[in-house]
Symmetry: C2
Subunit: 394 residues, 2 copies
């Protein structure tokens, strides 16, 4: 049985005046409206949220979905958490429930409200997604963990400091440029590659050598939501339908020191399995939205999805492959770097972006004739990995 998306919603990503409750309810209501499915027909709700406890003193967030519509009362509602991949984790559970024949229409909401805390608080709360005893508790942060990947990659592929810095700046600049057309994006700065590269130290300080401020994604509030059903039912409601053709999750060791620190091993495995399930290769993709929590993560993602051989990722920025008008636009939305990264919402945001792009009503630049897209969302230091393939069915 196959599952498709029949409704989407995407909030602004920014520093919001709205509470996590209001973000959740607005997302749910709006996705239902967009889908045309009535609240009483929704028979399963999944909420992707990373740390309502840490950011908002609110665990057990899922039942708040009853406040979306009185007709939802008694509907099963479940919170799913796998760090920054909580959104896709929620989609995965909804998909399985539909495939099991248990649920006909599922509502999935990803939501996070992070700006309740100051930078120090956010950093600490995010660090709880690392292996706390050896990482978070020892002062390791996520910029620090991804700095290890950057150093590992540089060493393995014998890049100079400048070569690495230039590559990462190209990624940041591409994503800033793409986000200019994304109405929901948190950043709207027409900074070129030269601008990013030449920012004064004060405006682009070192966060965790070799990663600078402009290598890091943003602290954001936001929500996104989708309605899922069987492709069969979706086809009754729509002429064109976006199918979630595959969603594969792989897991690696939580602690980074148990794994290579120069590539995304489990991520690669998730993508490989997803391609196999659909019977495609990277050559069949028309776009990809990947988890650029740090610019180095996007670089490693190029290689994890098979777009470049190991160590060849940087060339894709020079030959234009990953640019919005290139062979495979990556993060046409601006990515986490520029659109923002309310962590529990990010996976669902990617699903919304893929769906709208395939329907020809993109958030951000349009990719003409797009029929197949990949989303790659992960939690932790590439620990909980989710590769999803979305496909237009006419």
């Amino acid at each position: 049985m196959s599952v498709s998306v029949i409704g989407t919603y995407h909030s602004d990503f920014n520093t919001s005046d709205k509470s996590i409750y209001d973000l959740l309810v607005e997302a749910g209501k709006s996705a239902l409206d967009d889908s045309g499915v009535k609240a009483k027909d929704i028979d399963g709700i999944w909420i992707g949220n990373y740390s309502g406890g840490g950011f908002n003193n609110q665990e057990h967030l899922a039942p708040y979905a009853m406040n979306i519509d009185p007709e939802l009362r008694f509907t099963q509602s479940t919170r799913v958490e796998n760090a920054c991949a909580s959104g896709t984790a929620a989609i995965k559970e909804a998909k399985a429930a539909i495939e099991a024949g248990e649920v006909d229409y599922a509502l999935v909401i990803g939501v996070e409200k992070m700006t309740t805390l100051d930078t120090k608080g956010v950093t600490k709360t995010l660090a709880m997604a690392s292996y706390w005893p050896d990482e978070g508790a020892e002062g390791m942060t996520f910029p620090g963990l991804f700095a290890e990947f950057a150093k590992g990659y540089k060493k393995r592929h014998k890049l100079s400091n400048d070569e690495l810095r230039e590559t990462l700046a190209k990624i940041a600049a591409k994503n800033y440029s793409n986000a200019l057309e994304n109405q929901y994006a948190q950043m709207s700065k027409d900074w070129t590659y030269e601008d990013v590269l030449n920012l004064p130290e004060k405006k682009n300080p070192m966060i965790a050598e070799p990663l600078r401020l402009h290598d890091c994604s943003l602290v954001s509030d936001g929500a996104a939501a989708i309605v899922l059903t069987t492709t069969e039912k979706a086809k009754e409601l729509r002429d064109e339908v976006v199918e979630l053709a595959s969603l594969v999750q792989t897991t690696d060791y939580l602690a980074l020191d148990k794994r290579p620190q120069d590539e995304f091993v489990a991520t690669k495995e998730a993508v490989r399995q997803a391609y196999n399930q659909v019977g495609i290769t990277v050559d069949d993709l028309d776009f990809a939205e990947v988890h650029d929590c740090f610019t180095i993560a996007e670089l490693l993602a190029y290689e994890a999805i098979g777009l470049a051989e190991d160590g060849q990722g940087p060339k894709l920025l020079d030959d234009g492959t990953v640019m919005v008008d290139g062979r495979l636009p990556v993060n046409a939305s601006g990515g986490l770097k520029a659109k923002g990264h309310p962590v529990g919402a990010t996976g669902v945001s990617m699903a919304v972006l893929a769906t709208r792009q395939l329907l020809g009503e993109p958030v951000g630049p349009k990719i003409e004739g797009a029929e197949i897209g990949l989303t790659l969302n992960f939690g932790g230091s590439a620990v909980s990995n989710y590769a999803s393939i979305y496909k237009l069915i006419k």
Copy 2:
């Protein structure tokens, strides 16, 4: 397609020297051993955990399951959270994945390590499972919320203070008595009804009028785990198999003031649906393990499962119905009151208890000839409700 349990593990519930990581790994290893399923054949893992963030600074706990066995590396692993029902919520997701044909052998672990915090810290962390802005933030605690149920019940059914106190003491005493035979139980006190009723104020202080200390469940560390597969596969491995014949989840409003405070409305609905799915009534049950986070919750559960008409619950204690040798033993294990309540583990603990009872190797007193059992697990103030029916298949 039907799903069955083929391996179980239950840790001691107590104040443990072990970390949450050790509890998780021991539970996973032991359930795998008990099942006979090899780690390499496990293709899905679900972790029920309420607040690793609040208690242990550890969100994103699911990937730690990779440390159970190197052969598990890359296996999907997902944390599920719905307050004190997180364990059953995890079982539900595993069941759906098997029914969807996505997973053949699932490992489900419920775990919580609460004693890292002092009483004040535990109370605050648990209060994050209430609707924070109007409840937790306003100083409302879970004893306070369930006190509202106790007051509502007393008023609606015109009980005197003494009548209510006596009923609740009978529940506590029954559960203390039952736990004497439960090797994993946190409390082992041969306190009779008279003992509990006559405890001096100092030893049984008022926590939230009318609930006293001995009306409250315990603060515990612990873990429980099960291995699930299709009933068909289970039958190939075993002569006698315990089927998870139904698992229904219903949700009510998170905020208690949006609901009646004298009965468990959504809980009743979950049980009704579960009975219907299996085609049974309360008369077909041989035992029940219910969510007695407070003694008043067990009383309301009697009525929610249809064992007594509204307001008639207290009689079941006098006529012996719910006693271990009665018509329908309730909490033969000692329940949350006496066995302990490591919140994320509780739902999986109930699954282990039901399975072992049906296989004739009970944790706690044996119920001769038991063939069908109910578990009732909820999160929050009866907000996220899960009714499960376990059935012996010979």
